[in-house]
């Protein structure tokens, strides 16, 4: 049993009631002015239902999203590129025609998706947030994007990110700084900050991000949305601009667990264009999303939850710790048994991650030489063409990681850095495996803090790197993890969301989705719609 020594300030646990629900109250005017908000619906399933029953049209739906997107975008800057209205509406019209003619439509029909700008789209620029790839248009769609389109989804635009996914605030974008919809003076997290902010502010229904060291989960936590990092190999990386190939995965953002799960279902599967994609069977995630009315009083009876001790220690905001402990209490109310588990290798993850990610990125970014594509700086000599194109094309964070990686791979240093980090990775992998043999899921915060101020850590890379402590281990172990909002911390106009992370066994996303869904549907009193759009979002 967990001790709950600390008194949660914004999150009160109602002890064991038959309703197995947890009140999530905070003092913001939004929450108090509203009645008890309903659990988040699946936007995807709702959309499908209303489209197929002709209650609404894809065109109307698209218009309302585009309207909200254009209205909020000047404050948020979450998109680097938004598809022209007519392009989006044309696709919606085609869908409406199909529905009218009773033709089959895909599971994501009419769903407006934001795609992180490091995922290739043949009809939109794909800059990866870098000046070097300004105006670069790939000749092909990433496999995940292709699958989305085949499922009937409409790509509404490309979302902002830290350059090449390297950063935790989205301030590292070469183009713009994205604001957190909960507090425009704060960062949305990163590197998939644009996708997280866009889903949070209902600029699109769901979004794709990428997660190399927490780039889906930490911004999901900062923006109060659901972020799903699949098992390495579950989703094809083909068309994802590589940062660190052995860690990169494409992940999903949704405003509900169901949406994130349905999105994952659409993009999962083996791909002949990615040798590291898995042939493991894909579960029907949608079957996990039972209605709250059909839940038993203890729907998670018998599940064992391990709370990672090292993630609730010094260096983690006490309010975050309180929120997580309350979330664990809620899981216990739902029937889980929770206990603390120690992963002694946990703290080794951060240095190992930064070495491996830097090494791989130094290699992956070698192709940006200005010869074949991207911005080229004329030079009298080959070396100056290379040097100047890269010097002017890359931002400082990217350069720093290339330098670190190049150094760590150099002759004489390889054993001390790269090889050692790989050994650490093996240890971490094993410690997670052992823990997950004992527990169904492991729990930790998604980040040591809630969203911080824009500029706060910009000149302190080590502080920013330290913020990744909760997430990098999961990438090193290649495991799936689900982050979902569980409460609020004081700050901003309406409080700042806190996310907690559930880590599962490899290729067992369905268990995470099932637990996440039940947790989310039974979490009472919380609305994770930011004040920016609360008045109009559905």
């Amino acid at each position: 049993m967990l001790s709950s020594a600390q008194t949660p300030r914004f999150l009160r646990s109602t002890t064991a009631t038959a309703t197995t629900s947890l009140k999530c109250l905070h003092t913001s005017p939004i929450a108090t002015s509203a009645a008890i908000p309903p659990p988040p619906p699946s936007q995807i399933l709702t959309t499908r239902k209303s489209l197929l029953s002709r209650q609404t049209s894809a065109v109307d739906l698209a218009k309302s999203f585009l309207h909200r997107l254009r209205r909020s975008e000047p404050q948020l800057s979450s998109f680097l590129y938004v598809s022209p209205d007519e392009t989006v509406l044309k696709q919606a019209e085609d869908l409406d025609k199909k529905i009218k003619n009773n033709e089959a439509v895909g599971p994501l029909a009419g769903v407006l998706v934001g795609v992180k700008d490091n995922i290739c789209t043949h009809d939109m620029p794909s800059t990866a947030g870098s000046k070097l790839l300004e105006n670069y248009r790939p000749p092909y769609d990433a496999t995940a994007v292709r699958k989305l389109r085949e499922s009937g989804a409409i790509v509404v635009g490309k979302t902002n990110l830290d350059e090449f996914g390297m950063g935790s605030t989205t301030e590292g974008s070469a183009y713009q700084v994205t604001a957190n919809p909960w507090d425009l003076t704060r960062v949305p997290g990163g590197s998939s900050g644009g996708s997280a902010a866009a889903v949070s502010a209902r600029q699109c229904m769901v979004a794709l991000g990428s997660d190399t060291g927490g780039s889906v989960r930490q911004p999901a936590s900062f923006c109060g949305v659901v972020g799903l990092k699949p098992t390495y190999g579950r989703v094809s990386r083909y068309g994802l601009v590589a940062y660190a190939s052995s860690l990169d995965v494409i992940g999903c953002f949704g405003s509900s667990v169901a949406d994130a799960g349905i999105l994952l279902q659409a993009i999962s599967g083996h791909d002949n264009f990615d040798a590291t994609s898995s042939k493991q069977e894909i579960f029907d995630y949608a079957s996990q999303f039972i209605s709250i009315d059909d839940m038993e009083s203890k729907p998670l009876q018998g599940l064992k939850v391990g709370v990672i001790r090292e993630t609730l220690e010094d260096g983690v905001d006490s309010e975050v710790i309180s929120s997580i402990r309350n979330a664990v209490s809620h899981l216990e109310d739902l029937g889980c048994t929770a206990s603390e588990v120690s992963l002694p290798s946990f703290s080794l993850g951060l240095p190992a991650y930064y070495i491996l990610a830097s090494c791989e990125s130094s290699s992956n970014l070698s192709r940006y030489d200005g010869v074949r594509y991207g911005n080229q700086v004329f030079g009298d000599e080959l070396s100056s063409l290379y040097g100047d194109s890269r010097a002017q094309g890359f931002g400082s964070e990217v350069k720093m990681r290339i330098l670190m990686g190049t150094y760590a791979l150099s002759a004489g240093y390889y054993d001390a850095y790269y090889k050692r980090a790989q050994q650490v990775r093996t240890i971490i992998r094993k410690s997670f495996k052992d823990a997950l043999d004992k527990y169904d899921i492991l729990i930790s915060p998604a980040a040591p803090s809630v969203a911080y101020k824009i500029g706060e850590k910009k000149n302190d890379p080590l502080a920013m790197y330290a913020g990744d402590i909760m997430t990098v281990n999961v990438n090193l172990a290649g495991l799936p993890a689900l982050v979902l909002p569980c409460g609020f911390v004081e700050g901003g106009p309406a409080g700042l969301p806190v996310g907690f992370q559930m880590i599962g066994a490899a290729f067992n996303e369905e268990k995470l989705l099932k637990i996440g869904h039940i947790f989310e549907q039974t979490l009472q009193g919380c609305s994770f719609i930011p004040p920016l759009v609360a008045d109009e979002a559905t």
Partner: protein, 551 residues
């Protein structure tokens, strides 16, 4: 679509391997068009001519012989073999030598952002075949690594290769030196065989103002075969390279064509006084486009290095890469190697490990064809001379032709002579391979039998042979069609002899008067009468008897 992403590299000061390239950019302009010399398309499976030995037919110079009394060269060879797979190593683009630049490219081999490699399994199969053929130990678990360096022909900024765990290692190859160089058997060690991808090509325009990148070749699978430093002479090195070519052709994994760059040899060479254990400073020689250039470049390099040592200027031999200049017949400095290049190898994260099962390896082992060394030993045991053995086993198709001829019952020595003589000469003149001539081994066997059995004369046999090679058909058919059966009937020949003598009384008188040279005249007349069909032995015997009868 992809092509418009390309742009040219321009260089102001072009040299064959420019140390620097000046590069300009033209928006939207396609710079990858080929310069004036538009090349015709050639299939990868180009004609493999039955080559007569490509090894130089010249005596080593007196100077070299003198030098080699006091010094020995230590030579190792790195061979790059381009695999004749239908598609490239990591994408589905085909590769056709000589195709228009950048017409066989895709996001993967162009190294576009987000593209990933997926290994072509035929590459592994070829590597295993070559590894087994070179008597190597195979690594049942190997991996790919990234070799990192910047060059405009390397789209990803790294080459996918194998570093510390090559797929095959510790092998050897047996060779027989050509008779004209004294012959002899040698065994050279193979250090390793590994898989990697080829780079693209830089095309330098005539005026040297800019360079262009052609990525057709980028991503084409290669095997790098590294020998032990076991060779001592240019001839040994050339023969080693020739044996590698034979092997890959026997195995069908590559066309082994040196001119097209399907087989590329880089030679490492140092010299040392005989008896010295330590190696001298080694020099790498590139741009060797034939076996004879391998041999000649080594001879040149031995003399150059020894001269420096003899002149007390051994320090002039430096760790460097030198280029063989075919026109000038010399090596020149290409680039100095200042310290070891740091390629920052690390395991390729985009590709899973390469795991071979014992069953897979055994399956390939059992499917290997007879290899050149085994073939040579078998031919030798048939009683053929080493000269014949080396010729017949040189080309896998010629060897197969020979074997099939023997299988049809032909005499070994006669079959060898026909193939090495008239047939080889014809193929050389007509620039045809043994598979392209119309003659079948069965018909060659029939031809040999017909001559041996006396049905036709050797002379007629030759005529038929050319007909068979050019137009095909059967020996029996041609003999019948052209009424070529040899006349061996004594009385019939006697009749013709009598007639000819009777028709030429003047010449007969002169002959009997002592002008015996006229025997040839009579023989010629008789052959003319019989259209060459008279058996020459019988004819001459009867003719002589008749000519000398009244003397």
């Amino acid at each position: 679509m992809a092509l418009t992403l390309f742009r040219g590299l321009r260089s102001n000061c072009f040299r064959s391997y420019p140390p620097s390239l000046c590069i300009t950019r033209k928006h939207g302009v396609l710079h990858c068009s080929m310069s004036s010399s538009a090349q015709g398309q050639t299939a990868t499976q180009e004609k493999q001519h039955a080559q007569l030995k490509d090894v130089p037919k010249r005596e080593p110079s007196k100077k070299l012989e003198e030098v080699l009394k006091h010094y020995e060269a230590v030579i190792g060879i790195e061979t790059h073999v381009q695999l004749a797979t239908l598609t490239k190593a990591f994408c589905s683009c085909p590769y056709n030598y000589g195709a228009q630049p950048n017409t066989s490219v895709c996001p993967i081999c162009m190294g576009l952002p987000g593209a990933l490699p997926v290994l072509n399994s035929k590459v592994i199969e070829s590597a295993v075949k070559v590894g087994l053929a070179l008597n190597c130990k195979l690594s049942l678990s190997s991996k790919f690594d990234r070799k990192q360096y910047f060059y405009p022909d390397l789209p990803k900024g790294y080459q996918i290769s194998q570093f510390d765990i090559p797929i095959a290692a510790d092998g050897y190859v047996d060779i027989d030196l050509p008779i004209e160089f004294g012959g002899g058997h040698r065994k050279f060690g193979i250090t390793r065989v590994h898989m990697e991808e080829d780079a693209g090509k830089l095309l330098h325009t005539g005026n040297g103002n800019f360079s262009q990148v052609d990525l057709n070749r980028a991503g084409v699978p290669l095997l790098e075969i590294v020998s032990e430093p076991d060779m001592r002479t240019g001839v040994e090195a050339a023969e080693y390279a020739a044996e590698i070519q034979r092997l890959v052709r026997y195995l069908g994994v590559s066309n082994g064509n040196m001119q097209e760059g399907s087989l590329r040899c880089d030679v490492n060479i140092s010299v040392r006084p005989i008896g010295q254990v330590e190696f001298g400073t080694k020099v790498e020689i590139k741009n060797l486009n034939s076996f004879s250039s391998v041999s000649r470049a080594i001879d040149f390099e031995i003399l150059r290095q020894v001269r420096h040592i003899d002149e007390g200027q051994a320090e002039k031999i430096v760790l460097e890469t030198r280029l063989w200049e075919e026109g000038a017949q010399k090596t020149v400095t290409m680039r100095k190697k200042e310290g070891l290049a740091d390629y920052r190898y690390f395991p390729e994260p985009d590709l899973p490990e390469v795991n071979l099962s014992e069953e897979y390896v055994n399956e390939i082992r059992n499917s290997l064809p007879e290899l050149p060394e085994t073939k040579r030993r078998r031919f030798e045991n048939m009683g053929l001379s080493m000269q014949d053995v080396l010729f017949l086993a040189n080309d896998v198709n010629v060897a197969a032709f020979f074997d099939a001829t023997i299988a049809s019952g032909a005499d070994v020595k006669l079959a060898a002579n026909w193939i090495m003589g008239d047939i080889a000469a014809y193929m050389k003149n007509e620039k045809l391979s043994v598979n392209e001539i119309k003659l079948t081994p069965q018909e060659l066997g029939e031809l040999i039998a017909s001559i041996k059995g006396g049905t036709i004369s050797g002379k007629i046999g030759k005529e038929i042979l050319f007909e068979l090679m050019a137009k095909g058909g059967t020996v029996k058919g041609l003999i019948k069609e052209k009424d070529l059966v040899q006349i061996t009937d004594l009385s019939e020949i006697e009749k013709i002899v009598d007639r000819v003598l009777a028709e030429n009384p003047k010449q007969l008188e002169q002959y009997r008067g002592g002008k015996t040279k006229l025997q040839g005249f009579f023989a010629g007349q008789i052959m003319k009468e019989t259209k060459g069909k008279a058996n020459p032995g019988i004819l001459n015997k009867i003719l002589l008897e008749k000519l000398n009868a009244k003397a």
